[in-house]
Every structure is written in C-alpha cells, then in structure tokens.
C-alpha cells in the first residue's frame, strides 16, 4: 500500500457469512482492497459471487441471518466497524458513503414528489432547512441532467432513465466522498445506459467523487473504472489497474471472463466458461476456480494467497509467483 495521505477507503479481511439451514454461506470471504480519492473501482463478477454482499458489508446494511461479520473498514483513515449503529448511521451512511442500490429506480416512493426524496438526506443527515435543501437538490438534479421542474413530479411521471438519474442525484446530494453503485445501468436501454455513464464520468471529473461500481457488465465497467477487482465465489481473485487489466487480465478466471464478452468491433467469437461456480456453503479448501480452470495443477488443492505480481497488480493464483518484477503480462 502506498504511503502518504490516507486512502479514501481501505477494506481489510472483510467477511460476511449468512446463516442458512444448510450451513454458513461465505458470501464475502476475506476481502482486502483500497480505493483512493477520485478513483473508480469496478467490482466484476457473476451473480452469486458476493459482489452485492460486499456493498452491504461496507455499508453495514445487514439482513437478520448474519453468521459472521468481521474485518476492518477505514474511511479516510477512520475505522468504521467499531462505530455503534447510531453513529454509523449519522456519520457514515449518506454523508460518508452513499449507495445506489440495484434496481433503486424502482424503489422511489410513488406518493412523494421526487424533489422531496432527493432533499431527504440533506434534511436528515446535514440538518439543512427546506429552502437550502431544495436548492441543493435542484443543483444535484441539474448535475445528472434532470430538468429542475422535475422536483415537483412523482416517480411514475418519469421514464426509467430519468428515475435512475434521480436516484443518482439522491446519492450525490449530501456530497459523500464515496458512492457505491450496484448495477446502476443494467436495467436500462443501450442509449440511456450510455447517457448515464456520461453523467457518472462528469460527476467524477467535476465533483471528484470516488466510485465503487459493482457490475457483471465488463464492457460498461470500462466506461468508468480506473481499477478493476474481480470476485469469484466470495473472494477477490484479481485486483489491478484498468489500463493493465483490460488488455491482459492475469487470473485464469479473469481471462475467461474477458473472452466471454461479445465484442461489436473486431475481436474473436466469444467463448463460454464451462461448469458452474461452487456453492458458497462449505466451498472446497483449495482454489475455488480450480474445478473449472484449464491451467489446474497439483498445487491448486491449496488455497493460493492474493499476491502482488507487479506494482498495483494483485492476483490470487499459483501461476504467479509473488514479487517477481519481471514484466510478465501473460495473455
């Protein structure tokens, strides 16, 4: 990790297991990563790999059946896990980290004007009066490209793309340094999706927010991400700069994931990944991707550590010896 000013977000050995009748589901299993200011980290993975649980674990939005919830989360150097629920709610949620949840555009309140809903975090978290809150809300709406007169409309009067913009405005309005977005565009049409990604790029440039973008859509993630984290079966298998990752992913799973993306320009025919991800209840002891991996060898029965193969490029695979500074961008 780099020295100097504290990183915006640091996550260390974060675990979130859920209790079920058949055993503990290891949804987030020992994740460690960091995110700097004005950075966007995309967390890529298939459904069920634990990426949405990661968002829940960071924001401590837990269901009732929590089995294990351990690890450390630092925001601007301050530890969050030790805060009590009341302080966490007041000091972290929305003012420190906000969330655009999956399909959030469908969870706007149908009987409250959208303007009121955008103002709400300001009134509750920033204790602004209604006049100020309304002004800042209209600013936030302008930033995401929603006409200001929409403040007085209801959610059902807006199209899907406009509702998604409203939800993003809600996440922005209290100026949190970090915004977590869980599949922000996957329910939207192609052109609307491109419009929203333009909005997010603008926010990153102008406001300087950091993003944790959780998605299964590799191509769309490249629109925003500076860094890429790949999750498989509850664990981080690769972490690196977007500039290095997209042309040459290291982990065998990342490579397969990249070849499964159909491309519109050039490129070869997409391929699928044979087999299925393992169950997160009592997963096997070794590398969790080994059963589907074409590079599998004996050592894969042991769990590989996440090692830094090049500065800033981390991978959890026995194929890559730690600290070899040789420029082996395989693939």
């Amino acid at each position: 990790m780099k020295a100097g000013a504290p990183l915006l977000l640091q996550v260390q050995d974060l675990r979130l297991y859920f209790r079920t009748t058949r055993g503990a589901v290891q949804a987030v299993d020992g994740l460690s990563f960091a995110l700097g200011h004005r950075q966007a980290l995309a967390v890529l993975g298939e459904s069920g790999c634990g990426k949405s649980s990661l968002a829940r674990a960071i924001l401590r939005l837990l269901p009732r059946n929590v089995h294990t919830y351990t690890g450390q989360v630092f925001l601007n150097g301050a530890e969050l896990m030790s805060l009590n629920e009341d302080r966490f709610r007041r000091e972290v949620r929305w003012s420190g980290i906000s969330l655009v949840a999956q399909a959030a555009m469908n969870s706007l309140n149908p009987v409250i004007k959208v303007g009121e809903q955008v103002m709400e975090p300001l009134v509750t978290h920033r204790r602004l009066n209604r006049e100020e809150a309304r002004q800042r809300a209209s600013k936030a709406l302008q930033l995401v490209g929603v006409p200001v007169d929409f403040l007085d409309r209801y959610a059902f009067e807006l199209s899907g793309g406009m509702r998604q913009r409203v939800v993003i405005a809600m996440a922005l309005v209290a100026d949190p340094p970090l915004i977590i977005m869980d599949e922000p565009t996957s329910a939207l049409d192609v052109l609307t999706q491109a419009n929203i990604m333009n909005v997010l790029k603008g926010i990153k440039k102008e406001v300087g927010s950091s993003f944790l973008l959780i998605t299964h859509d590799v191509a769309t993630s490249s629109e925003l991400a500076d860094r890429i984290a790949v999750m498989y079966a509850g664990q981080l298998v690769e972490l690196g700069d977007a500039a290095g990752f997209f042309p040459g992913p290291l982990h065998p799973y990342s490579k397969k994931l990249m070849t499964s993306v159909p491309r519109l320009r050039g490129g070869s025919r997409p391929e699928f990944i044979p087999g299925q991800p393992p169950s997160l209840i009592n997963p096997s002891a070794g590398c969790r991707f080994a059963p589907r991996c074409s590079f599998r060898f004996n050592r894969c029965q042991e769990d590989p550590p996440l090692v830094e193969v090049e500065p800033g490029q981390w991978v959890k695979c026995w194929l890559y010896p730690a600290n070899s500074n040789a420029g082996s961008h395989a693939g």
């Binding site: 459904s47 609307t192 491109a194 993630s221 700069d241 977007a242 997209f246 159909p262």
Partner: protein
C-alpha cells in the same frame, strides 16, 4: 407451398386500445406500426431494439398470441389471420417460443418430465411409451445430461442456464420449423449467455430452423444470426446482413446504437460518448414524420418531421428508412 417453410410479415400493425372511460377514448398505443420483413428457410435473423419499441409485441403476433390490427403474417403460404381453431393449433406446434425469464416461464409444480410431456399430450401423443423417447431426445439435444438425473427435477432445482436449456427443449419438443427467442439470455450471466446462444445456433443449423432472435444487444446478435433488423418506436428503420449493418450502418439511430455499445477498453473512461439526447417516444403519441427526428443529429427541417420516410434499398438486401438516402448513398 408445403415444401419450404417461410415467414412473411406484410405491413403489420398491432395497436392496443387503452381502456375507454364512458364515451371518451384514451387512445391507441401503436406498438407495431407498419412492419414488413421475411424469413427464408433456415434463416436466423435478429430483431434489435430498445425496450418499448414493439419488438416483443411483434414476436407475440408472429406466435399468434395477438391479432394484427392490420396487415398479415404468412407462414408457409398460410395467412395466420385466416386459420381456424384446429389449424391455429397446428401452427403453434410448428413454432417454438423461448421466453426471456426461464424461471417465470416454467411451471414450478411440474417436474422436467411433465414440462416436456405437456406439449406432446396437448398435441395428442397420448401414449407414454411414445412420449418418453422424444422427451429424452429433447433433453439430449439441449445437453442436459445425464437425462435420467434431470427428468424428476423441478425448475427451482436447476441453475439459470439449465432452466433456459429446459425452456429451449420445450420449444423444440414438437420439432418446430420456426423458433422465436425473445431476449433468451438477458436474464443470464455473461459467462452462460454465450453457451445458450451457441446451443440455439447449433439447433437452428442442425434442424435448418428459422430463428427470430429478439434482443437489445447488438454485440451478441453479431455472432449468432445472419441478418439484423433494427426497430425503433414500432417500425423497422434498417435491415441488412450482419457485417454490412455493422460495417456500414446508415440510419442515424443504428449509428447511435453501435456507437453507444462499448467494447471493454480502459480508454473508454477518458472520453465522453456521443449519444443522442432524449428517450424513445411514447407510442400513444408518436412524433410526426420520422419517429427518430426529435433526437436525430442529421434532422432535415421541413421534411423529416412532416413525412414518414419509406424504405430505401441502397444495396441489395440493405434497407433503410431515412430521408438522408432518398437520392442514394451520399458521396463519401
């Protein structure tokens, strides 16, 4: 006429009337508004468009689930509108339907054997001994091995990909001539999508099926069909062979669509995309003239908002409904 199955859609309109209040009429939604195309034997075609453009309505009309308000659907020389009870039954057994949401499309209380047996029972294959081999064959075709293990399972015991295979097996069980697949992979994970599409393409080639692949995703259409039709606000605005359409898109909407689909590349983050503003129109009150004109970067004032563009055929098989091409291809 019996020899080669084909599908011809001529000037199809499907309008839905909104509920009336007393004498007042709320209006009609013009979901499909003058669509013509045809599918030759063994041809795979993609219908690409955004949500609400009418592509699913078109699919369901082809399946015989909606009646056209005007125009016709002709399958192997027979007009669907003229089929009587029993004949419609016969038509449906020749058309397979692969739904978008596999879990929603499968009855949760039936096991695999019954799900696949049901269409056979309905089509009067009354003996179990006749049904069983066909059920096994269909499961093998969609690669749900070992068959023995899958037969007693219920839909919730299958993964998303396996459920979609089962839906495909059900669509194939009557040995149809035409397969209509409505967003068959949009609910599935990226890594499974390609697998399902390869399966569909394999079946289509093996049995020389006609395939109508409905999707919002141009990048998958590229690999799995021969021809692409682009639909916008109830109309087909451009159609051409895959490579022709992707290499030389003509309609401003097609161009925007292609430009808006990123390929994974770290350089994307540095630039803003050039996307037309706005959203697709409400089909209750579609714009006058060309329906794309309010968003179009190449809008010709005095023409585009007044008159609807007809189809111009610039190359054999490459049709575009845009006034920019009224006097052929502009010199470039």
């Amino acid at each position: 006429m019996q020899a080669e199955p084909s599908l011809v859609v001529r000037d199809l309109h499907v309008w839905f009337e909104l509920r009336r209040w007393g004498f007042g009429r709320a209006g009609v939604v013009r979901a499909v508004d003058g669509v013509s195309f045809s599918l030759g034997p063994g041809e795979a075609v993609a219908l690409v468009g955004e949500s609400g453009c009418g592509k699913s309505t078109l699919a369901r009309t082809v399946l015989g689930l909606y009646r056209p308000s005007a125009g016709e659907v002709v399958f192997s020389g027979k007009n669907l509108g003229e089929l009587r009870g029993g004949e419609m039954h016969g038509y449906r057994s020749q058309v397979g339907y692969v739904q978008q949401d596999p879990y929603g499309a499968l009855p949760p209380f039936m096991n695999v054997r019954r799900i696949l047996g049901e269409p056979l029972v309905i089509n009067k294959v009354s003996r179990r001994s006749q049904r069983e081999p066909r059920i096994r064959e269909a499961l093998e075709e969609v690669k749900l091995f070992p068959v023995e293990e899958f037969l007693p399972k219920f839909p919730h015991m299958l993964s998303g990909g396996q459920q979609q295979r089962l839906v495909i097996a059900r669509a194939m069980i009557m040995k149809p001539k035409l397969l209509v697949a409505d967003e068959p992979v949009s609910m599935l994970d990226a890594s499974v999508r390609v697998e399902i599409l390869e399966l569909l393409q394999g079946l289509q080639r093996l049995h020389n099926l006609m395939l109508l692949y409905i999707t919002h995703d141009l990048s998958t259409a590229r690999y799995f069909v021969e021809r692409i039709m682009v639909m916008y606000a109830g109309k087909i605005v451009e159609q051409a062979a895959v490579d022709e359409l992707l290499d030389r898109p003509l309609h401003p909407y097609t161009r925007a669509l292609i430009a808006a689909i990123p390929d994974p590349d770290a350089a994307n983050a540095a630039t803003f995309q050039d996307v037309p503003p706005g959203e697709p129109p409400n089909l209750l009150h579609p714009p006058s003239g060309c329906r794309f004109h309010p968003r179009c970067p190449a809008f010709i004032r005095g023409l585009c908002e007044v008159q609807e563009p007809p189809d111009f055929e610039l190359q054999p098989g490459h049709l575009v409904a845009c006034w920019l091409y009224q006097s052929g291809l502009p010199a470039s």
